[in-house]
Amino acid sequence: MKALLSGQAGVAVILGEQPQFRPVEGEAYVGTQGDIAMTFAGFPDVETVEVDSVSLLDRQLGRSFAVDRAKFLLFMLLDGEQDEETRREIAEEIERLVSRYRVKGEVTSQLSGVSPDEGGLEKAQVLAAEYDGIASLLAAMYPGVEAAKDRVLVQFDSVADRASPFVGTRWEAVQPQRVTGLLLNRVSAKGAKSYRPVLTTTTTYPEKFRKVVDEIVLQARASLASSHGKHRRGLPTRLGYVDSRELEKAVDKARRRIAAELRGAGLDLAPPPRAELTAMIRISRHNTREHKIGGRKHGRRVAHA
């Protein structure tokens, strides 16, 4: 069947002698040919579609509507001065639309084509920090925004298990520290205390080989730091944020190199699992400098991310 639809208008019309109007989340009704012109007047995104069923048409309309409204609500957040509750409602609705209609890719793609006002970067950063669910959309518009969900903070459940042939971890409780508005060592589980991992080594790998692996891990970390660019002022470099996709690439590369070194050394050992290697890259064993954070010194040879 042939139909017209417009995401902006939020209506699809099945064409025919008696056109059937199907509004998003509304009741369908029968209209006239003249109604079509009035309904779509001024909407530039009207398109003709051919679909096999009404449900497919509704789905297509829903997607088009969701893409339009998600973008528009995002612009509203960036341009407006809403109160906190309204902001939260808007952010949640954006997230709901994107998730329900599965349009994240399309929205992100369209937003990356927008030329935003550079003066909005700061607001975008604040919104991204406040609302995880829309952070990646904001990052699509403003590449300077670090998507909250892509931030590499310490996530304790990603650290290797203790059966690793290479490294082990032990946990020590920490008090959350606040640095320039960020909460370090965030509570990982709901209601849990804050913990941080402390890396230890085992004797499974020969000492000489451990140094090779250490070097590979350091180089992976350095490549992430350089791709990230400047870190936020006031924070130790190890607390900078990197894109999770960049981290994944660095982990893959490091793993391949370690596997090659193991083969070259004739060692019948597997390279560290990805999750473990990820933790190793994020939790540097070589950050031994003292850092003043919120006025307190951390002088132990421990690793933070």
Binding site: G42, R69, T86
Partner: protein, 282 residues
């Protein structure tokens, strides 16, 4: 088909406002078109026939009330909250029709719908349809919310001199009168804003019923519901852009989706901040 310049009598093209020879303001194209001799005489003939019917039906009093209601009627634009929001968000705060948005470079789908939408409009307003903002005439407090939940009432002083009224939706009109590509719309179905009650007489006079209430008359002027047997209205054509400050009142039926309710909340604040009266229908 050109009009004569009032100063030098040379022809002024249908879609032009100023005489190219002496630069006299010949008047807005749609208003000039409605004032043409053939249009006025054809309308006059229709009015005469309608008056005969009014006398025959015994609806002289109802007709008088219809005229009074039409003289007090308002111009209303019905759009959804999304469209209203785009309008208010624009830096210049101008309501732009599809053709103007296209000229400004706004993206649109290359679709047969967009290719063909102008043909009906051009048949009714030849050559100058792109300059018109389309609205409707209403005698009550709500427009046609089935075309958009926001009924946006425009101040009369902002549109009176540049608006004409037309019998009905051009798509319906062209079908009824077999106006096909290449044919001109028949004369006698339009009037200036000041003469809108004359057009209403021609169109609705014969349909008046004895004892018709104010509600009945308002429903005749603009059908309120989708279920109406003849979902009908008198279309209004405003030449040029409409600035948001020309909005007098906005009446909004509660939007169905959460996203639109959020957008409406924001627009309501904007409108109130602009001193525009806002009301809501649950």
């Amino acid at each position: 088909m050109s009009d004569a310049c009032p100063t030098c009598s040379r022809p002024v093209k249908t879609d032009r406002r100023f005489c190219k020879f002496c630069t006299t303001d010949a008047g807005l194209p749609n208003v000039r078109y409605a004032r043409r001799a053939d249009e006025r005489s054809a309308l006059k003939r229709r009015v005469s026939r309608a008056r005969l019917a009014i006398r025959r039906n015994g609806t002289i009093a109802e007709h008088a009330r219809l005229v009074a209601m039409m003289d007090a009627s308002k111009l209303v634009i019905n759009r959804n909250v999304r469209r209203l929001a785009s309008w208010l968000a624009r830096d210049n705060k101008l309501y732009l029709n599809f053709y103007k948005l296209k000229r400004l470079g706004e993206d649109y789908n290359e679709d047969q719908w967009n290719f063909q939408r102008s043909s009906a409009e051009n048949a009714v307003n030849p050559m100058f349809y792109e300059e018109l903002s389309i609205a409707a005439v209403t005698a009550d407090t709500v427009g046609m919310s089935y075309y958009g939940e926001c009924s946006i009432f425009i101040r009369e002083d902002a549109i009176a001199v540049r608006t004409t009224v037309f019998e009905e939706n051009p798509f319906t009109f062209n079908e009824k009168h077999s106006v096909i590509a290449g044919k001109m719309a028949p004369a006698g179905y339009r009037a200036t804003w000041a003469d809108r009650s004359v057009l209403a007489t021609a169109k609705l006079g014969a349909d008046l019923k004895p004892g018709a209430t104010t509600d009945d008359l308002a429903e005749l002027i603009m059908a309120r519901t989708r279920g109406a047997a003849d979902c009908d209205f008198i279309e209004a054509h405003v030449y040029g852009d409409i600035h948001a400050e020309c909005i007098e009142t906005v009446v909004c039926v509660k939007p169905k989706t959460k996203a639109d309710r959020l957008i409406w909340r924001e627009q309501k604040s904007r409108l109130v901040a602009m001193g525009i009266h806002v009301s809501e229908i649950p």
